[in-house]
């Protein structure tokens, strides 16, 4: 009997992932924070990471950004391996992140916090400062212009000269995001950007994240504010005990009684 020919279907274009994680494992003694995680992020899409405390969401961000190395697995940004690189090199390739506990530079003004954010900062090399002061100055001027534009976008222009430590908590969260935007990143990781944020800052945060994704950046958000995740994200990823349990539309995930039970416990 002649073999049945395979049905001919038009190939569906699959966008190449900006960030591709395969088989990521990490344990601290007996505590497993990542257990065979596979995850891809694509340009222009916002993915929300949801799950109960201790699910491994922030640990995943720490693994991606290089706070600690994985025990096994690979992380690729635009096809380039990140997992063996130091943290600063990963940022230099276009990976930006914010921190759950802010981690702003309290002694610097808001503008100077942003000035520290670009991938290239010529002012960190003494020799370059000595040999090419004009070039450094020009790049500083350019960075300052960009920083002021980002502050306009995030409605922080009015506090540009204020010390970061003197801002309200909501404003500090926005500064964290604004500083990450200075990287011109290919992939942006936002760790609980809405925790403690309300009022106008909430609206601004949503608008800014949408705008960033629309410009072609792959965005991943860890957030406990389910309404924010549902309103903002194109899809959700549910994590539990260091594993990815499900991926799909946020509404579907939060309606799944099995996941709800894991999230809230019984």
């Amino acid at each position: 009997m002649a073999p049945v020919p395979a049905p001919v279907t038009a190939p569906v274009p699959v966008p190449a992932p900006v960030l591709a994680i395969e088989g990521l494992d990490k344990r601290f003694g007996g505590i497993v924070v990542a257990d065979g995680i596979d995850l891809t992020l694509t340009a222009g899409r916002i993915v929300g990471l949801i799950g109960p405390n201790g699910a491994g969401k922030t640990s995943l961000f720490n693994l991606i950004s290089g706070v600690f190395p994985p025990d096994a697995g690979t992380i690729r940004l635009d096809g380039q391996r990140l997992d063996g690189l130091a943290m600063h090199r990963r940022a230099g390739l276009g990976l930006a992140r914010t921190w759950q506990n802010l981690r702003l530079f309290p002694s610097l003004s808001v503008l100077d916090n942003l000035m520290m954010g670009p991938r290239s900062y010529p002012g960190e090399r003494l020799l370059r400062l000595a040999l090419d002061p004009g070039g450094v100055r020009r790049q500083e001027d350019e960075t300052r212009r960009r920083a002021r534009a980002v502050l306009e976008r995030t409605r922080l222009a009015g506090v540009a000269g204020t010390r970061a430590a003197d801002l309200t908590f909501g404003q500090q969260k926005l500064v964290g995001v604004a500083r990450a935007l200075m990287n011109d990143a290919r992939c942006l990781l936002l760790d609980e950007p809405m925790a403690g944020v309300e009022g106008q800052a909430y609206e601004i945060m949503q608008a800014v994240v949408r705008e960033v994704a629309a410009s072609g950046v792959a965005v991943c958000v860890v957030e406990h504010n389910v309404a924010f995740i549902r309103d903002l994200c194109d899809e959700g990823v549910f994590m539990f005990a260091g594993r990815v349990l499900a991926r799909g539309p946020v509404g579907t995930l939060i309606a799944d009684p099995r996941l709800t039970e894991l999230y809230f416990g019984t």
């Binding site: 950004s65 130091a86 090199r89 530079f105 520290m116 010390r163």
Partner: protein, 293 residues
């Protein structure tokens, strides 16, 4: 007059040392007290190159400074990769080790010291010219440190001190910056050591012991850590006060201990009365006016 010029030279060297030390422990937040050993390396390398190998003194001085910078980078690089605390341990070990080596190696003159170091500039142009050279070097050091601390590099140092993890997360290489600033400050100390050696023409290892580390630390802390003028004030004060006491016409049995007590007394007084030093540093990093323009 010679006495006053020599005092001016000592003050100038102390200003350069305190200012460069402030860059390391103050602005960069690197915990090390081994600054005098790089002062020693500069002094010995320059003196030996000029005396035993016929290298012209200015070139020998630059070699001394460069050797101090390279040696400091070699100490800092492995220790800073582990943690900042290890720099303190590694630098103290390095200071003790180098001084022991100097004391026990014949080429350095051993514990008795190195003599017959070729002079520089004094015979041709006089002590005044040498004092002007040293004071010019001190002024240049203060100006450079100020330019570094209040320019883009200083902004980065301030950010690194505030939060090293966030600093690295933005793409900044904290280890490279720490090593560079440590090497720069130590290179300045090396050049100061070379200037010392070719003026006094005699150096001994005991001049660079831990006691000297304590004196330098006192200058920076009493003057005002992380400020431009604090270490300058501290250096002038702590170099001039012991000399001023000698004019009190006290018996020498009392004079020595009194000079020693001065450092301890000042540290205690400042600890309770003005812990931030004579010139307090603000909480916020400030760009120089030129940078802000």
């Amino acid at each position: 007059m010679d006495y006053l010029l020599t005092l001016a030279i000592l003050i100038g060297l102390s200003v350069a040392l305190a200012s460069s030390f402030n860059l390391i422990i103050g602005y960069a937040g690197l915990i090390s007290i081994a600054h005098p050993v790089f002062y020693a390396i500069g002094a010995y390398v320059s003196a030996l190159l000029a005396r035993d190998h016929g290298v012209p003194v200015p070139l020998a001085m630059l070699c001394g400074a460069l050797t101090a910078a390279v040696a400091s980078a070699a100490v800092a690089l492995p220790s800073l990769r582990v943690s900042g605390d290890y720099l303190l341990i590694a630098s103290i070990g390095f200071q003790l080790g180098v001084l022991e080596a100097i004391k026990n190696v014949s080429v350095t003159g051993g514990a008795g010291g190195l003599t017959n170091i070729p002079p520089f500039l004094i015979h041709e142009a006089g002590r005044g010219a040498y004092a002007a050279l040293v004071l010019g070097f001190a002024a240049l050091t203060v100006w450079l440190n100020r330019a570094i601390a209040h320019g883009p590099y200083g902004r980065a140092l301030s950010a690194m001190r505030d939060d090293e993890l966030a600093f690295a997360g933005l793409g900044r290489d904290a280890v490279a910056m720490k090593v560079a600033v440590f090497a720069f400050g130590s290179g300045v100390a090396g050049l100061a050591g070379a200037l010392y050696a070719h003026y006094f023409r005699f150096v001994t290892p005991e001049q660079f012991e831990i006691l000297q580390s304590a004196a330098l630390l006192t200058m920076v802390v009493v003057g005002g850590v992380r400020t431009t003028w604090g270490p300058v004030l501290g250096a002038v004060l702590l170099q001039a006060l012991p000399q001023a006491i000698t004019f009190l016409d006290l018996p020498s049995a009392l004079l020595g201990p009194l000079q020693g007590l001065l450092f301890t007394g000042l540290v205690l007084v400042f600890m309770f009365w003005r812990p931030q030093g004579l010139i307090p540093a603000g909480d916020a990093w400030r760009a120089s006016r030129r940078e802000e323009a």
